[in-house]
């Protein structure tokens, strides 16, 4: 697996062919010389991302259970690991079967469809509150980039914003209520900011890999967001009934969503 070097930064492109998550190189100043690096090195398979999510969540399973035990029933780690394992298994089975529900081959499945498929498994087979929320996030993210085989920074903004909107709609929550939204929202905002900045940079001749920078900053923002829930009082879900007692503990949903975001971004950036 190619490590990201300064040189490869510039042409950092990921393609979606078969179960791959493509990312469009964001170095806008190089538009004319849009070279793709070797597909083997540049494309990221969605099962690789899912594998890393599961690995990260398993690593944090007990910690998430303990966080949940402070303000809930202590099974969030287990629930979320099982949920993503199930999604992983179903996607792998689907791949070996080679056909999706429409009966067409998966070989040309786009990223949007893959995200939606993953979301449906999470949403419908997990249960608890986590299933519908995570599932909706992935379904809506997939819808936002329907048909795409490569995703640009603009697409990242679209898909994360759609995920956030989906969670708000499904859970009837808002930012500041000590939930996963407190992790997700700052990330979306950071991506939006970087995109706005890229419009300015387009006019100058600065040569930086904005997408990489954007994703690293987004990860940082998500982490800070997660940590910000420590000082919040829960206003949503079962823990909201504990009121002041929830202060001083990181929200388990905010934490698990950070680990998922971290795994996705790290896999995409190959860091």
């Amino acid at each position: 697996m190619a490590q990201l070097s300064d040189e490869s930064d510039r042409y950092y492109t990921l393609n979606a062919t078969r179960y791959t998550l493509g990312m469009q190189r964001c170095d806008l100043s190089h538009k004319k010389e849009k070279k793709l690096v070797n597909k083997e090195n540049s494309s990221i398979k969605i099962e690789e991302i899912l594998g890393n999510i599961v690995k990260k969540l398993e690593e944090k399973e007990n910690y998430l259970n303990r966080l949940d035990a402070q303000i809930g029933d202590g099974d969030h780690g287990r629930t979320i690991v099982n949920a993503f394992k199930k999604a992983q298994k179903a996607l792998l089975e689907n791949e070996s079967g080679g056909e999706d529900e429409a009966g067409s081959s998966d070989k040309n499945t786009d990223i949007g469809t893959l995200l939606k498929r993953m979301g449906r498994i999470l949403a419908f087979s997990t249960g608890a509150a986590a299933g519908p929320l995570y599932g909706t996030a992935f379904i809506e993210a997939g819808k936002a980039i329907e048909g795409k085989r490569e995703i640009s920074l603009k697409d990242w903004v679209k898909l994360t914003r759609a995920a956030e909107t989906g969670i708000i709609k499904r859970g009837r929550g808002k930012v500041g209520e000590k939930t996963m939204l407190d992790t997700l929202h700052p990330m979306v905002e950071t991506l939006k900011e970087t995109l706005a900045r890229s419009e300015v940079l387009k006019k100058s001749s600065a040569k930086t890999d904005l997408l990489k920078e954007a994703l690293l900053r987004a990860k940082e923002a998500a982490q800070k967001g997660m940590e910000s829930t420590r000082e919040m009082v829960s206003r949503r879900g079962r823990s909201s009934r504990l009121g002041e007692r929830t202060r001083g503990h990181i929200d388990p949903g905010a934490a698990s969503s950070y680990y998922i975001i971290e795994a996705i971004i790290k896999t995409c950036l190959k860091v």
Partner: protein, 336 residues
């Protein structure tokens, strides 16, 4: 730690189900591919299908109420955790005879989201489905915020009434109206002096809330959610008076009303205590000239081993009286 007789804590729901199904196999079965318990004879011809579900740990709820004159299918969640939309959808499909399906669920965010998705899926397939969300708990917010109020054991009265209504052959619309009527006329209030524990260790689990030696929590929720206030523990009469005053003023119940009374043990409060409590409830109702039409005293909707009880009053009209009187026969609720 609170001690329990379990094997692997991760297996409690599966092992409980295995035992339950073995014990009651004449009446109920599990769907082959989904953790759903249904009446053996589903789908029942010309009858509206009735589905409920929620987290485990509330015996006899929910699966104890799968039977004639009660529920047709129950989606079984993990301890105190909503079943998945898929399970609920499987339950809806299994009980649908073509006359439509009513889902009855408690007002908890996980349950509400999963039922919402399941109902949407079923509707997409052309199944006629309706849902009614139960929120009978006076201990979880003021009357102005009814949408925030939780479900506690008032749901038992809803199951009994809609079960009888569906058994009479009523259409989906009419069955749903009964659920809404019972919910609108039911108020509950609980109290606990000791917590329960979700199994998480080889021989038990950590208590899910703490109360001082001489404390009790008024308005406690079905999973140990805090209620109205923590106060010094009082006698059965004084505690019941606090609960009853809150319940009576909420609808409000008035002189001349006829009610059903449910005194529900939350897990480790004895029947001896529950009858002492009913004695006080009956006295207070008599003073207020509210007539008790029927009463249920026992464990109807527990919270694992929580120490405490709840009182539920439902205002009845002729239809509800008839429906509560109708026979019912499920593994854990029998009425002839």
């Amino acid at each position: 730690m609170l001690k329990k007789f379990i094997n692997d804590p991760r297996d409690v729901v599966e092992e409980m189900l295995e035992g339950f199904l073995a014990a009651h196999q004449k009446q109920v079965k599990r769907l082959e591919t989904s953790r759903v318990v249904v009446r053996k004879e589903v789908p029942i011809k010309d009858k509206v299908g009735l589905v409920t579900g929620g987290g485990s740990g509330h015996k006899p709820a929910f699966i104890g109420y799968v039977g004639k004159g009660l529920m047709d299918g129950v989606a079984v969640g993990d301890i105190f955790s909503s079943p998945s939309a898929e399970q609920i959808y499987d339950a809806i499909k299994a009980v649908n005879s073509g006359r439509g399906v009513l889902c009855v669920l408690g007002n908890y965010s996980g349950d509400v989201m999963n039922f919402d998705m399941a109902v949407d899926m079923a509707k997409d397939e052309g199944i006629e489905v309706e849902q009614v969300i139960i929120n009978d708990d006076d201990g979880s917010g003021s009357k102005d915020g009814m949408e925030n109020r939780r479900r506690v054991d008032g749901e038992v009265i809803v199951w009994k009434a809609v079960g009888a209504k569906a058994e009479e052959g009523a259409r989906l619309r009419a069955v749903k109206e009964v659920a809404e009527k019972v919910n609108a006329n039911t108020r509950s209030m609980g109290v606990a002096h000791s917590p329960c524990a979700v199994p998480s260790m080889p021989h038990g689990g950590e208590p899910n809330f703490t109360l001082g030696e001489n404390e009790m929590e008024i308005g406690v929720g079905h999973h140990g959610e805090p209620g109205v206030e923590k106060v010094t523990i009082k006698s059965a009469d004084k505690t019941t008076e606090i609960l009853m005053n809150k319940i009576l003023e909420d609808i409000p119940f008035a002189q001349g009303d006829e009610v059903s009374v449910l005194i529900n043990g939350l897990g480790s409060t004895s029947l001896l205590e529950l009858y002492i409590i009913y004695r006080k409830v009956a006295k207070m109702l008599k003073e207020k000239k509210i007539r008790v039409y029927t009463s249920y005293i026992g464990e109807y909707f527990t919270s694992l081993e929580m120490g405490g009880y709840s009182v539920t009053l439902t205002r009845l009209d002729d239809e509800l009286k008839r429906l509560l009187d109708a026979p019912a026969n499920s593994p854990l609720f029998v009425q002839s």
